[in-house]
Symmetry: C2
Subunit: 186 residues, 2 copies
């Protein structure tokens, strides 16, 4: 019953998100197989505001040790603040973000920007404001446990992520209403 | 004295290899920074036959846990047979090769192909002949310790490698004359 009351993505929104991401990747010269195009992931992080807080993504590989993804963002779309916890002897996820297309405003722990470029929805749930601007060819490595978030500039963006194993269930989001697993409606 | 007798790449060969790789990557939509373009690695594996046995590569990132590279091959160029050993508790390098452009003939342990597409120079130093043909969008994961090698098809190729930490000094090549560290002449 709770699930049916929660915000959810419609099939139409998912199809449209997949279409957008597939086109953006094709424009950037990234060749996808048909099965990859059909499986592109669209996430609204459970907030029901996909164009504001959301992400389209393709997972190339995710083994016990290595993960690689393409992250596609619409203009102004935000991947919300979170950090990656470890478990036992394993440190949390380490990520390198490399900008392929567009402009990305990445925020990490450190001296806050006095006039940050990004303005995320639900701003009260964002706590780190050290700004790193990534243009195509620029990249930045996020160390385990570090809070971070990012927003695409006015043309949208493509970011390739090189990382250790991806374990979404161990991501801790600052916004308590976020759920990483997308609920799909009709 | 030994070094001066060993095969070595000339500055002109390295410059030409870098130019070729930068152009191939640009054609594929991969944006490089100026410092990356200038640092593209050209390796002849110490055999002095770059167009036969060789590789052009860009290392995006190589931390204690994660590595990512673009590998650029000229038509028919071969990355020679090798495997990645572990050390102590750490298993050897795990690699996923994703073909971006061109056709790649990848050989791993397993049932040998009866009519393999590739014909590497110094063929006597190749022992694994299980053939995997990769077209753009196709990928294959190589597990630690597994012997492997690959050759580009007639149009050359670009392969993105997602892996654990790259430790060239722990690579074991089947061909005893191979040295991974390139010697540069005048």
């Amino acid at each position: 019953m709770l699930d049916s009351l929660a915000p959810m993505l419609t099939r139409a929104e998912i199809d449209e998100g997949r279409r957008y991401a597939a086109e953006a990747l094709a424009d950037a010269g990234v060749v996808l197989r048909d099965d990859e195009r059909a499986a592109l992931e669209v996430s609204d992080f459970g907030l029901g505001d996909l164009s504001g807080t959301g992400l389209q993504l393709l997972v190339y590989v995710n083994t016990d040790r290595v993960c690689a993804k393409e992250l596609v963002l619409r203009p102004g779309q935000t991947c919300p603040e979170h950090r990656h916890l470890g478990e036992g002897d394993e440190p949390g996820k380490e990520e390198t973000f490399r900008c392929r297309r567009g402009e990305v405003w990445l925020y990490v722990e450190g001296d806050p920007a006095s006039s940050p470029r990004a303005n995320p929805p639900r701003r009260e749930h964002y706590s780190v404001w050290h700004e790193i601007v990534l243009h195509p060819g620029d990249q930045h490595t996020i160390h385990p446990g570090t809070r971070h978030w990012f927003q695409a500039g006015p043309d949208g963006a493509i970011v390739t992520e090189f990382s250790t194993r991806s374990t979404d269930e161990r991501d801790v989001f600052t916004d308590p209403d976020i759920r990483r697993i997308t609920v799909v409606g009709d």
